[in-house]
Amino acid sequence: MNRRDGFAGWVRNLWDGVFSTMVGMGITIRYFFTKPVTVQFPEEKMEVAPRYRGIHYLEQDLCIACRVCEKACPIDCIEIRFKRHPGGVNEWFEFSLDYNKCMFCELCCIPCPKSCIHEGREYSMVRYDRSELVLDLLTWKGMREVDLRTIKEAEEEKKRKAAEAAARRAAEKAKKEAAAKEGDPGKPRKKETPGKRDPEGGGDER
């Protein structure tokens, strides 16, 4: 199509060059008079989608410290340190995410049995130092008032149960001693098992 020799080709080339340049210039000048599409970042921020995978947040009161997220993370950027107390209460020391490594793949959120870790809509994370990029997601450390109460209650419960059990045992013993009878497997059902993995891959968390 573009191959033509001799003078006709010369003229054709010249015309093509001038014409296509004009067309291109027409396009650029048209945009010259349109509004820019730029978003002026710090002043105006782009509306992120509801599903945006940004900086994590943790619903700590739901979290049962099952460490599933820690295991699911392909790059081991989650570190969880806690101490389990009676009454299903966890004394929190650390639930940190290393954002030097984190790649926001959401793999930690998908298997969570309680759906308590989420990727939020915050995305701007500017720090002066790399070490500051290790964020602790905990909203409280250690234990709350309510936890202490729960523990106390649990301990009291335990004590009561123990006492009851002791009493029962004593009674049973007495009974056993009195006559051979079937035992009571009454064991306190306290331990929460990690929930089954959500087969829908987390589903739509909206």
Binding site: N2, G17, V37, R51, A72, P74, M103, C105, E200, G201
Partner: protein, 391 residues
């Protein structure tokens, strides 16, 4: 400046008038504005004419294949995003298809349709980068930003469906992480319409520009036989006039249910297989992609109901010993995953065939004899992503 004290290399040669010139050895990259990443090409040049070129790769090798043996099947998905980071969806897709084939998972049709839409959208996004950076390589800045403008919309579509803008980790073995949110399909259709209009603009601004044509036609010609011999795939192969597209020749997903053309290079501006042909194949593919997307959206809405996007699969996927190979048509060519399993929850071996790596292999063959400016045009027209070359 050349140094005569070094012994003349094989590049030394005599040209007209007995002027003895010594070739200049230039390091193009790894830090060079137009090597598309950390590619290093050692060029021997006689003035402006290249006499030999040797690419060196491996600067961002990240052991993706080894990592695949150390993480579970689900956990590897984020890594697939990262080899061809411009087409993360397509990488996700290729990997998931391989795992699904090995595990014999049944993927719900809605997930398949959405996968197709995402793959094609990402193809557009990837080709837009190819288009933009190619303009950049040839000195035209504006098309780059126009391309980015449309790509931005495409990325926000992905953000709406999966929450990420570049590394999506959206497809998992068995289906998708999420179903499409409300109104997403409509926006996809709107995007297609607008994109088709903008495409005409790109065409007028860059594709049909005389300078652009002169820079790209008859440059870096890859004959069909040579392209096949070097194992090129994707637009590089089709640019040479070979009609080979996995979506057509070995349909996966529902590609056999939609109609589309496979653009091949026809030598419209010069020789078949020149830079312009490769470039134009990409441009034409973008239009085909919008065509596919429209059909997919229509069929998806007609045939499926929302919600069902993940196959039933065990909590920890364990695949009995088998080996599979699945190739998908990535924007840059055939992305192959060869997966060997051994019954554990991790792959025994995963071999990734990156299209860019194979396409790159042709550089030493076609660069000699061209000019340095052409080298930039040729490397750009092959459209490599170094993340995938090195993996």
């Amino acid at each position: 400046m050349t140094d005569l004290e070094s012994t003349p290399k094989e590049g030394t040669r005599e040209i007209v008038l007995d002027v003895r010139t010594q070739d200049m050895e230039i390091n193009m990259g790894p830090q060079h504005p137009s090597t598309h990443g950390v590619l290093r090409v050692v060029i021997t040049a006689d003035g402006e004419i290249i006499t030999s070129a040797r690419p060196y790769v491996g600067y961002i090798h990240r052991c993706a294949e080894k990592i695949a043996e150390c993480v579970t099947y689900d956990q590897f998905v984020p890594y697939t995003d990262r080899y061809d980071y411009l087409a993360a969806m397509n990488n996700n897709l290729g990997y998931c298809l391989a795992v699904e084939k090995a595990a014999e998972l049944e993927v719900p049709p809605r997930a398949t349709w959405i996968r197709m839409i995402c793959a094609e959208l990402n193809r557009i996004g990837s080709h837009l980068i190819a288009f933009g950076t190619y303009g950049l390589d040839l000195g035209a800045f504006t098309p780059f930003l126009y391309g980015f403008r449309e790509r931005e919309w495409m990325m926000s579509l992905f953000e709406k469906i999966c929450g990420a803008r570049l590394t999506y980790s959206f497809m998992f073995p068995g289906g998708l992480a999420n179903d499409a949110p409300e109104g997403w399909f409509d926006e996809v259709l709107r995007f297609c319409d607008v994109f088709d209009r903008k495409w005409r603009e790109y065409d007028a601004l860059l594709t049909r520009n005389k300078i652009f044509i002169e820079r790209t036609r008859d440059v870096g010609v890859i004959p069909a036989e040579m392209a096949k011999a070097y194992g090129l795939t994707g637009p590089c192969l089709r640019g040479s006039g070979v009609r080979f597209d996995l979506r057509e020749s070995a349909p996966y997903l529902f590609y056999d249910r939609v109609s589309f053309d496979v653009p091949v290079g026809q030598g419209e501006m010069g020789t078949v297989g020149d830079c312009w042909d490769r470039y134009f194949v990409r441009m034409a593919e973008m239009l085909q992609s919008t065509r596919i997307i429209r059909q997919c959206v229509e069929l998806c809405l007609a045939e499926t109901t929302p919600g069902e996007v993940m196959a039933k699969k065990p909590k920890t996927l364990k695949i009995p010993p088998t080996e599979v190979y699945v190739g998908v048509e990535n924007p840059r060519g055939e992305l192959g995953h060869y997966l060997v399993t051994d019954g554990k929850d991790k792959a025994f071996r995963l071999k990734i065939r990156g299209p860019s790596f194979c396409n790159l292999s042709i550089i030493p063959a076609i660069l000699p004899g061209t000019m340095i400016a052409d080298a930039v045009a040729i490397i750009g027209s092959i459209d490599i992503v170094l993340g995938e070359v090195d993996r």
